[in-house]
């Protein structure tokens, strides 16, 4: 693919609101996980909750249609790091109909529906009159809200393939730019806490009772988090700053194996990484850091380690940042792409926190302490239910 510039980007998760706070947490190797006290949830688990989401309103004119936790989190994140302003500049330059919106989410505003089901009319079973399906529950609500809030008029879509959603948003956006459907694209992912995922992952026995410990010998499941991350993708200008961040490659594949677990050899993950390298025109030795999908379940980490070792060898340093942020599901791909952008810009390989004793069977170079080093190119992995895999490669301009 032709490289695209991330001309603005931001991330909000349990480790911070915006880039400065996120970077500070990464530098301090701080985890944002806390004991689950979300809503009325009674589960012994830890979560990555973003403080203040309920107190962060939408723009007044959009509240009636779009108000829900997921869109509040989106709007809170878009206000950071000048992303909304960069989108406005881009819209003025290319025209609002030439800016695409490609966002990933897994559960959108389903929390609103979960709450509405508690308030059904006893006689008829009807949902309460104030329930709004389209602007809250529907999967597309996130992109509809974002497009309208930023006064955009171009193509828009939500990609919803579970935990690969917002990584795949980068791949769809780069194709739309290459095909000249759009001149720039706002890409990203937003997923917010809800009962469906907390109780759902619990039902699959995939949730840890302690803060998740990716790649640890005693890892026993995920910690669910929430987050929002955005990036504005544009064709690079002729003169880029050395620390400008580029999207260099994307690779996507399907496991064709099982709905909720990967093949033990990670062959789908392997193919996604191989295609990402091919798309970037790079060799494995060009990659300086890998942000693992690293959810912290025994089988996910084992399959990923197997795949990484096969494609990249066991020597490239990597870590999962989910011990810090929790698994932000549909937002994880974009969140971790932005963490990679910070890694490139600041020469920081973030440690995987919570992990104390590495699993000796996982043949990868897992970082348990921060490392400072110049990075030119990094890879980030995102693998989801349904066997949906996506790897992205990002790099510095100089």
């Amino acid at each position: 693919m032709k490289a695209l510039a991330l001309t603005a980007f931001t991330a909000t998760s349990a480790i911070g609101r915006g880039l400065a706070a996120t970077l500070e947490s990464l530098r301090a190797a701080r985890s944002g996980l806390s004991r689950c006290a979300f809503e009325t949830v009674v589960l012994e688990t830890w979560i990555g909750e973003v403080p203040g989401v309920d107190a962060a309103p939408l723009p007044q004119s959009l509240t009636k249609v779009f108000d829900c936790r997921n869109n509040r989190l989106a709007w809170l994140a878009l206000a950071q790091d000048g992303v909304a302003e960069a989108v406005a500049r881009s819209a003025a330059r290319y025209g609002p109909e030439r800016i695409g919106v490609f966002l990933g989410t897994s559960t959108s505003g389903i929390l609103e529906t979960e709450l509405a089901y508690r308030r059904r009319e006893p006689a008829t079973g009807a949902l309460p009159a104030d329930f709004r399906y389209r602007g809250a529950h529907n999967t597309y609500s996130l992109a509809a809200f974002t497009r309208q809030a930023l006064n955009l008029a171009g193509p828009a879509v939500v990609i919803s393939s579970a935990c690969s959603s917002s990584a795949k948003a980068f791949a769809s956006a780069q194709r739309a730019i290459a095909a000249r459907l759009v001149d720039a694209a706002l890409v990203g992912g937003v997923d917010s806490l809800c009962l469906t995922t907390l109780y759902g992952f619990h039902s699959l026995q995939l949730v840890s009772r302690t803060p998740c410990r990716p790649f640890d010998v005693s890892r026993d499941g995920i910690s669910i988090g929430e987050g929002a991350a955005f990036a504005l993708l544009e064709r690079p200008s002729a003169s880029l700053d050395a620390d400008a961040v580029l999207l260099l490659g994307t690779g996507e594949s399907s496991d064709a194996y099982h709905m909720s677990s990967p093949p033990p050899d990670g062959r789908g993950a392997r193919e996604a990484m191989r295609l990402a390298l091919e798309s970037a025109g790079l060799a494995a030795s060009d990659i300086g850091y890998i942000n693992f999908h690293g959810t912290g379940t025994p089988s996910n980490d084992a399959a990923e380690a197997c795949a990484v070792a096969a494609v990249l060898g066991g020597g490239i340093p990597g870590s999962s940042t989910k011990g810090a942020t929790g698994h932000t599901l549909g937002a994880a791909g974009a969140l971790e792409a932005v963490i990679c952008a910070l890694a490139l810009r600041h020469g920081l390989m973030p440690a995987g926190v919570n992990t104390t004793q590495l699993d000796p069977l996982l043949a990868v170079h897992y970082l348990r302490e921060n490392r400072n080093a110049h990075l030119s190119r990094v890879m980030t992995n995102s693998f989801g239910f349904g066997g949906s895999n996506c790897s992205l490669i990002l790099g510095r301009a100089g």
Binding site: Y94, E114, Y140, R147, R175, S254, G387
Partner: protein, 269 residues
């Protein structure tokens, strides 16, 4: 500002399943006016290509998408295992979503693991890849009522950039009460198109598509227009009608807000 170029593709195979529309030849006859349309509930077959354990677990969207996807690939003489896919749906598995919300609103919130993994928007895409052995990229999209047009744009952008054939499957199955009252979708409807970058022996027509500012075309027939409006995936009907007639023409498919995707078609036969 640079306008979008039209993106072109060849339509190599079509699959359709909807109310009173049992497959593509039946739908084409009805859309050409050669046979009357008797609307009756969409009949979803139980596919034999999944193992029995998976068959038991699958909801209506899986049955619907397997039916139309396999019809389209079979008509295109294409191997389903070899094709990347784009799945477009307004709402995924509505029945499954309802069951989950009911459990979560009850005093016992223990969910069935199968219900949970079937709740992801890409469940149908996941089952498709398991059933057919398709290991290429698979996208699962949503754009509310514009989901078919959004899926078409995604598919032809992928085809234009990666120069590979793509299988597009758009589908909706609707919700039970009480969600059906706030999001009425009248019945199940699915459409699948095998789209190819080059003309082949199976090619039926060349298609070019571009986002446009005007509104979408309606169906001339009032009953078809009602069907088009009552199921998001049936927003594809104006395009299917043109494909059924096998003539040159242009249709506008419903897209975001008051816009459309303009599709021009020229038959290969």
């Amino acid at each position: 500002m640079s306008p979008s170029p039209s993106l072109t593709a060849f339509v190599d195979g079509i699959g359709v399943l909807g109310p009173g529309l049992g497959d593509w030849p039946a739908a084409a006859r009805v859309l050409r006016g050669e046979a009357p349309w008797a609307s009756c509930p969409t009949m979803l077959p139980v596919p034999q290509c999944l193992p029995a354990t998976e068959r038991r677990r699958m909801g209506a969207p899986v049955r619907l998408t397997l039916a139309v996807g396999l019809e389209a690939t079979s008509r295109a003489s294409a191997s389903p295992a070899a094709l990347p896919t784009v799945f477009a749906s307004s709402g995924g598995d509505g029945q499954n979503c309802h069951e989950i919300c009911q459990v979560l609103a009850s005093s016992d919130r223990r969910l069935s693991p199968t219900r949970f993994h079937n709740s992801v928007h890409n469940a149908a895409a996941g089952y498709w890849s398991i059933a057919t052995g398709a290991t290429a990229a698979s996208n699962a999209l949503c754009a509310y009522d514009a989901s078919f047009a959004a899926g078409l744009l995604e598919a032809i952008a992928q085809l234009a950039v990666d120069r590979t054939a793509v299988l597009l499957i758009a589908y909706d199955t609707g919700y039970p009460e009480p969600l059906s009252r706030v999001r009425p979708i009248s019945d199940a409807f699915g459409v699948a198109l095998v789209l190819s970058p080059t003309r082949g022996a199976a090619s039926l027509a060349q298609l070019s598509a571009v986002p446009a500012t005007g509104p979408a075309d309606c169906m001339a027939d009032a009953e078809f227009e009602s069907l088009r409006r009552s199921i998001p995936a049936a927003r594809s009907l104006p395009l299917l009608a043109l494909l059924a007639r096998g003539t040159c023409g242009r249709v506008a498919i419903e897209y975001l807000d008051d816009t459309s995707v303009a599709v021009e078609l020229s038959p290969c036969r």
